[in-house]
Symmetry: C3
């Protein structure tokens, strides 16, 4: 393992040396400053989301908090560097030397997000080495899938609903299926959240909820489109939150609210709105989409996850299919509808004039889900290699790492 | 209850559909972008304050953390949407169709803050339904009160000291008085904070403390006024913090510091400075105001809260009268003094030329306190309706909701 | 003690009154607004770091969390006000009346950081009074040292590696040595972190990690230099994080990761990069510097701290020498190397044309380390005064303050 790491580090240094000879130097200091001030606050918000918010969200396993925070932190950094290198490599081949900028790092961070989401499916039953190998496999597949969906098919997806959320969800499920095979994992005694760990996890949710608009809007065109993206995301997430609390109370016989529902459902609106956030649409559509996606997320927890576990023996530890899969599909469907009903002139400056876009959105969804499922299955099979030291059953969900 | 919620949701959709047909579309993309960048970071800071900071501050009840975070989150979202609808309705009647913008959402969030503060008086002894009904009543009353104070009386109150803090404090006290009547509530065994819950609560205080300048300065005129507001708030809060620690140690016989004092006293300066933050004044005035308000807050905890509880049988769970009421009154008084002693030319571009403003400030304070107390009493009486399912005594301060 | 505080408060008021008659009033509202928007988000990030992040990082002592948060908060505010006063005094003597601005407060906050870092060496075995006296001594010495290093020697140190980190580290060690003398302090039963306190501390680390680029870049020249500073800091910290996890696992016989290592090592890159962050250099240099400093930090924990404790009887509670001292020295060395190898034209607009700068960097390092060590020894001797009420042995590391 140590050798493996040293090799990776050495290669990293080599790559960095070759592909990024220089950090970007613009001619006009003023324009750089303006760009910086317009993107840096968003960037910091996203960093807080990924490092603190997502880390805390995953601490719902009571004896696994330190491990989860560390894994999340390690994977984010490793994936980000790896994605930067791949970007540099591709650009190098195409355009010669590259200048590194904050936007590159942002794109690399988005690639890293897919790894963090996929991890949710296999959380607690995997070793750090397995997770690192998974990250190493997932990043290039993500770039290929993103290229196919955005550049080739011309799918509209400003908030990464299809390219990030749907992709990483099915990749994670594929890995989980191939890694654990048909062996039904017994419920582990350390799996049950305690009130304390639920509290920490809820704080993570709230942090994610607060900064989500920055995540969706950061890559929008500045001005109206960005303003719209922020507003639509705010409305969708607010609707999600209220719907989750009400629906979760109604679904339980005693009217009790499940912390797990709240932790996931209130974020579902943010996942779904990503495809359509920057389009001009009536606010009621954003509110409806947020409500609907929260509802789907809760129904998924109530019915689909147990069903998948029973019928397909599919392990989904954090319920990523309910938070990222279902709302992602809903978002893709919503974008197709939005394009069909949109008058030609309002949304026009964004859409290509061919008009075949609604189909493209659906096609993009299929590519993201199908491709990632396949790639995930292959990756999961590779993760079974014994040299990656999967943790023994009794040490799952345990901070024995420390 | 379920029916009640469905009805509300349905009505919400209807309202949104009618009153906000469109999100604002400006002609000049550049100016929108600039406005956005100038307001969005402040907006995010305020979101963190309300969702994470205020939520954590209220977790000082050891077995009530999950409930408090959920209630806070639900009430914020519900109140914000309800305030948006009311705004849309009023604008619709006056000006026809409305465009929704980030500034609308900010104003709606300010309205929601009043609900969150008022909740502090009745925390732990109320059901979610009661809190939602209270929110539904408080928002329109807030808008009426704000219109009377700011638009009609012309009161200067850039940080919402009078319109938000004083208003919501006396509204909450009124609700508490009418809801619990003369029945002295016994001290509940789950009311006592533990070191752990005090730690979480203190973290909430620190988050609020850090972002408070954004709250005060967000609606200031950009430029000098905003800069002054930020500086004055920083100085006042810094003075508050030091004064609180010193005074709390001196007030205790063993020199011990009370966590409750620290959690509230260090924020008192931010409440008081709100009325005068954007005025040109010597820094020493901001420091003095911050110190004085922290002192008043601590004295309130030490003497006034027990007195009110004994003589008026007035329940004030979080001590909102000490954090929002007393410093708010101090802030209003300070603004009256500031207007009286201000030379005509420095503060001139803000004040109307009539010169009767010092009186107006006092009048505004009286309107905010008196009106809200009355409205709170009525609302509290309505909350006694048995259909709202107040929690039984033994389930108070308990996460049995989950 | 009470009298002491009252005196300080009174003097503070007096000083504020004399030296800051007015808050800055610019002629051009637009330029103020632009400056404000470019500095305020950075400023808020730094506030979060110092108040929430650093506070949480220090809560690794399980029964000392409340005290540590309170001390951190009190010292930050006290030191900041004291630094503001000193600034005002010096400017007053030189230039007459001063206008207070956000930049002054930022500089004062940087001075306060040195106090917070130095505290780390003597954490848990000192009373609040001792800490306040130490703060009162350290702030003027910091200003003198900073003047000597930056203004007199012309050292390049945009992120405060030498002036802040190295200075405060050796000051703290000096205080610790003089205060505890040769008396080997027995290991206290309350010193051992629990998983819960490690979790809180790790969250603090993550918050510091996220916002560190703002700390390094806030005082850079806007535009390219600031952009470079942000990118270099990001790369260095990312490399630190990965290196820390890998190296800490490899250093332990069972492959376990030490939380203490993670809490400190992942920040080491940010300390080291401070001297060179705004220079134009290949990204691989930033990555290498980050990795190297993390490695030094871990080796320091493993070998140097036990060695110092055994041979020099030097108490370093939080290991500030490993996080601030060693990476700071590395950063200073790196800056000397960078200046030597830099071509004259790229980095030229920053460097003076004499070329003697590499020597100056080393000289600056010596001044910072030597001067502060001496001053720290003197301060530590003064702290032994019995009137400052050091806590008895059994109350160390205990929240008995409350």
């Amino acid at each position: 393992v140590g050798f493996f790491f040293s090799l990776i580090s050495f290669l990293s240094f080599l790559f960095f040396f070759f592909f990024f000879p220089d950090i970007s130097l613009a001619e006009d200091a003023n324009s750089v400053a303006n760009q910086l001030y317009s993107i840096f606050p968003f960037f910091q918000d996203i960093q807080v989301m990924l490092v603190v918010g997502l880390g805390l969200l995953l601490t719902f396993l009571p004896r696994y908090g330190l491990s989860v925070l560390t894994h999340n932190f390690l994977l984010l950094n490793f994936s980000m560097q790896w994605a930067l290198l791949l970007q540099g490599l591709v650009h190098h081949v195409h355009h010669g030397q590259v200048h590194l900028g904050l936007r590159n790092i942002l794109t690399a961070e988005f690639a890293a997000v897919t790894v963090l989401i996929s991890t949710g499916a296999i959380l607690g039953r995997t070793s750090p080495c397995q997770l690192l190998v998974m990250a190493a496999c997932e990043i290039p597949i993500y770039f290929a899938s993103e290229w196919a969906i955005i550049t080739h098919l011309g799918v509209l997806d400003v908030g990464g609903t299809i390219t990030i959320h749907v992709f990483s969800c099915y990749f994670g499920l594929g890995v989980s299926k191939a890694l654990f095979r048909a062996a039904q994992q017994p419920v582990h005694p350390k799996e049950t959240p305690t009130p304390r760990s639920d509290l920490m996890s809820l704080i993570g949710t709230l942090i994610l909820w607060v900064f989500w608009p920055s995540f969706v809007a950061v890559l929008c065109q500045p001005g109206d489109a960005q303003h719209r993206a922020i507003l639509n995301t705010l409305l969708a997430m607010s609707a999600s939150a209220v719907t989750t609390v009400v629906a979760s109370s109604l679904m339980d016989r005693d009217g009790k609210l499940s912390p797990g529902h709240l932790q996931n459902g209130s974020l579902a609106g943010g996942v779904a709105i990503g495809t359509v956030a920057d389009m001009a649409m009536p606010p009621v559509a954003a509110v409806a989409l947020g409500s609907l996606s929260a509802m789907m997320c809760l129904l998924g927890f109530k019915f689909l996850t147990p069903f998948l576990l029973r019928k397909l023996v599919l392990q989904d530890q954090c319920g990523i299919h309910n938070l990222h899969g279902l709302p992602g599909i809903l978002g893709a469907a919503a974008s197709a509808v939005a394009i069909l009903v949109a008058p030609d002139d309002t949304a026009g400056y964004h859409l290509s004039p061919t008009g075949g876009n609604a189909l493209c959105q659906v096609l993009g969804l299929a590519v993201a889900a199908g491709g990632s499922l396949l790639a995930g299955l292959l990756t999961g099979a590779a993760l079974q290699a014994p040299c990656l030291a999967p943790p023994p059953q009794r040490l799952c969900f345990d901070d024995s790492l420390y």
